[in-house]
């Protein structure tokens, strides 16, 4: 098991009333989100994870140590001390 810090932003922060939480998981993103959902509420899983496609929801920015998960090559394996930042769909200019 590894310990990972999750930071929520924007509407996700408002909805789950938490800025930062530390959870233990088996190193997969699915297990990370499931572990967080046990603490934050069931709906967190659906808010962040697309169970049908078995991957993080496409419309989110899900960054591991600052790198968007979509830009990371190969199988994702979270490590002890990793920081995961999750943003709802946002933009600016």
């Amino acid at each position: 098991m590894v310990t990972v810090e999750i930071i929520l932003f924007a509407s996700l922060r408002d909805r789950y009333r938490v800025r930062k939480t530390v959870v233990e998981c088996d190193g997969t993103t699915r297990n990370l989100i499931e572990s967080a959902a046990r603490r934050l509420g069931k709906s967190f899983l659906a808010s962040v994870y697309d169970s049908d496609k078995d991957k993080v929801r496409d419309d989110l920015i899900f960054a591991i140590n600052g790198r968007n998960i979509k830009d990371l090559k190969g199988e994702i394996e979270l490590k002890n001390g990793d920081v995961v930042a999750i943003f709802p769909p946002v933009a600016g200019g």
């Binding site: 932003f9 924007a10 509407s11 922060r13 496409d58 419309d59 920015i61 960054a63 140590n65 600052g66 790198r67 968007n68 979509k70 830009d71 930042a85 943003f87 709802p88 769909p89 946002v90 933009a91 600016g92 200019g93």
Partner: protein
């Protein structure tokens, strides 16, 4: 005249105090649309005319009477149901800040209201010997004395002129203190808090003695094919509402929400770009703004996105009871670039920028450059006159904004912009600008495509010329790795071309999170009656970008200027997810030129012919 246009442009000779009406040239409108495209075409006509008269545009004083100032709307502007189309565009032959082309785009209601008053655009030439303003009401345009308005700020000028016109829906565009003082980063304001923000167009207006343009009217913009327009409009508006960014992200948090996103990506420039991880980003973020100071949302005319933020700082030394913003760029420039973490101070400084009409990006970046010069002990104490320009000093930052607008004390040095300031103190490399225009809030060492866009952007260090942040960070229309260089040349080119279409339509760039060239082709075809294809739409954009480049070439700007500050090319980011990265411009620029059909920043004759650009 094709539908979508009112068919008339005002030409105002401020020297002679004459106002004449000209017809919109239909052939030019077909090829260049309106807004920026039509404006660029007009600028090139000035170059030809000046060449015949022996006037060198290279040596021309940007604050002299020869510099034309052109305000244009487009065929989409003011059309009910055309997405986010309350905007207008400004073009000037030469920016006082950069020496390159002057260009800007603003929201609000002014653009739409100009069309309701009966006109598509206004061209200002010459310079008045006394302050004047132009009143355009119900098809009649008159120059009037502005002696009593000169010296008044944005909000006073707006209120007084709206009252003078006596129409609830009148719209006022004006300059304020900075424009009157010919500060090269002065903005032109409209509807109180909207702005033609960059490249010092406010100083050009000030140099002409033109204080304001007030518009009011009740005309309707004609449609060509109402039966085709209604379903296309409905589909496009729904696409914007259903898009996660334009329908959810922007309305909920505005642009300010990007502070944490970009900081997480290690690309939020901090302390004049010495690094791009800001340890205090949370304190100046959109989330913090929403929690502490947000009152309600606001929107421009005809917009269903509503990204505007009405804010209020209720108490404390930076109290400001009613204001708008700050937007993402202001939060960054006045906050992160200067290492100021007091959100109230940033909000107040941003309010000053609107009140005095001065560009927060260039102002914040220039103050940040001054702070680094001061950190390196390059500024004599006597010059600073007691201003403690230390990174993180909120009070000094707010004071500096005021001093720049008023050109007092050390403010008169900073008012010249970061390039001249840093050159004056012997460290030109500390100016974080491209072609003299201060870059906005994305570090290209961590987001490579935006660096290529900054370097090749016609007006200088500008993000909205080709907003590759959409694919590189947001993932729209598809996700690109921000640290990769492959393919970025094509993306930068397409974004630059498409943005020219948006700025010539004229509507809001934010619609492009949901709409593509095909949607614009359908919307514009239905409104104008001309049958555009998506390929033709992109070709129009490419034509505009190339003609703008030709204008710049005549001003002496070419490939030597398509570069980035040495810090971004040579100094690797010291921390964060992009640690060790530099901008890698050399890996992208050659491919970009090849795709553009340019040699050393100059369009080839073959490319101009292909785009049907007649010089």
């Amino acid at each position: 005249m094709a539908r979508g246009f009112m068919g008339k442009i005002l030409r105002v000779d401020l020297t002679a105090k004459s106002v004449i009406t000209e017809e919109v040239d239909e052939k030019i409108a077909r090829k260049y649309l309106g807004g920026k495209g039509y404006g660029v075409y007009l600028l090139y006509q000035y170059i030809k005319e000046y060449a015949m008269r022996g006037i060198s545009v290279k040596d021309m004083d940007p604050l002299g009477p020869e510099n034309p100032l052109i305000f244009m709307t487009g065929p989409g502007t003011g059309v009910p149901g055309f997405p986010s189309s309350g905007r207008h565009h400004v073009m000037a032959l030469k920016s006082p800040l950069t020496g390159s082309i002057g260009s800007g785009n603003s929201g609000g209601t002014w653009g739409a209201t100009l069309k309701f008053a009966g006109f598509d655009g206004v061209i200002f030439e010459g310079a008045s010997d006394v302050p004047v303003y132009l009143s355009i009401v119900d098809g009649k345009a008159q120059l009037r004395d502005a002696g009593d308005l000169w010296g008044k700020n944005t909000f006073d000028t707006t209120r007084i002129l709206k009252k003078a016109v006596g129409r609830k829906r009148a719209s006022v565009m004006c300059i304020s203190t900075a424009g009157e003082n010919l500060v090269p980063m002065a903005m032109i304001m409209n509807d109180d808090h909207r702005a033609l923000g960059r490249a010092g167009v406010g100083a050009i207006m000030g140099s002409k003695g033109l204080k304001a343009v007030v518009v009011a009217g009740k005309e309707k913009v004609p449609y060509a094919k109402m039966d085709e327009f209604v379903p296309v409009s409905k589909r496009c508006l729904e696409a914007i509402e259903n898009n996660p960014v334009s329908g959810e992200g922007l309305p909920a948090y505005g642009t300010a929400v990007l502070v944490n996103v970009i900081n997480t990506a290690g690309s939020l420039p901090y302390k004049n770009w010495q690094t791009s991880v800001n340890p205090d980003a949370e304190k100046i973020s959109g989330e913090a703004l929403a929690e502490k100071y947000l009152v309600k949302k606001g929107s421009c005319w005809g917009c269903n996105i509503a990204c505007g933020r009405i804010t209020s700082v209720k108490s404390g030394p930076y109290q400001i009871l009613a204001t708008e913003g700050p937007e993402y760029e202001s939060l960054w420039a006045l906050g992160s670039a200067t290492a100021v973490k007091d959100l109230a101070a940033i909000t107040k400084a941003n309010h000053y920028c609107d009140e005095f009409g001065i560009d927060p990006i260039s102002v914040g970046s220039t103050i940040a450059a001054a702070m680094e010069l001061n950190e390196k002990k390059c500024i004599p104490e006597d010059d600073l006159q007691g201003l403690d320009l230390t990174f993180g000093n909120a009070a000094a930052m707010v004071e500096a904004v005021w001093r720049i607008a008023h050109k007092t004390g050390f403010g008169k040095y900073m008012a010249a912009g970061s390039r001249k300031l840093c050159e004056f103190y012997g460290h030109p490399e500390l100016s974080m600008s491209v072609k003299g225009l201060e870059m906005p809030a994305y570090d290209p060492r961590g987001i490579k495509g935006i660096g290529l866009n900054y370097a090749t952007s016609n007006r200088g260090g500008c993000h909205v010329t080709g907003y590759t942040i959409a694919p590189e960070i947001v993932g729209i229309p598809e996700k690109l790795d921000p640290l990769a260089t492959e393919g970025k040349a094509q993306w930068a080119k397409v974004f630059q071309d498409f943005t020219c279409v948006v700025n010539s339509t004229v509507n809001c760039l934010f619609t492009t999170f949901a709409l593509g060239a095909g949607d614009f082709a359908e919307l514009l075809s239905a409104v104008t009656g001309w049958d555009y294809t998506d390929a033709e739409i992109l070709k129009i954009g490419e034509r505009i970008y190339n003609l703008e480049r030709v204008v710049m070439n005549r001003l002496g700007i070419d490939g030597k200027d398509d570069t980035l500050p040495p810090r971004l090319l040579n100094e690797p980011l010291p921390e964060g997810p992009a640690k060790g990265q530099v901008a890698d411009l050399d890996k992208m620029l050659g491919e970009y030129y090849k795709l553009r059909g340019w040699v050393d920043g100059v369009p080839t004759a073959a490319k101009l012919k292909e785009l049907e650009i007649e010089l």
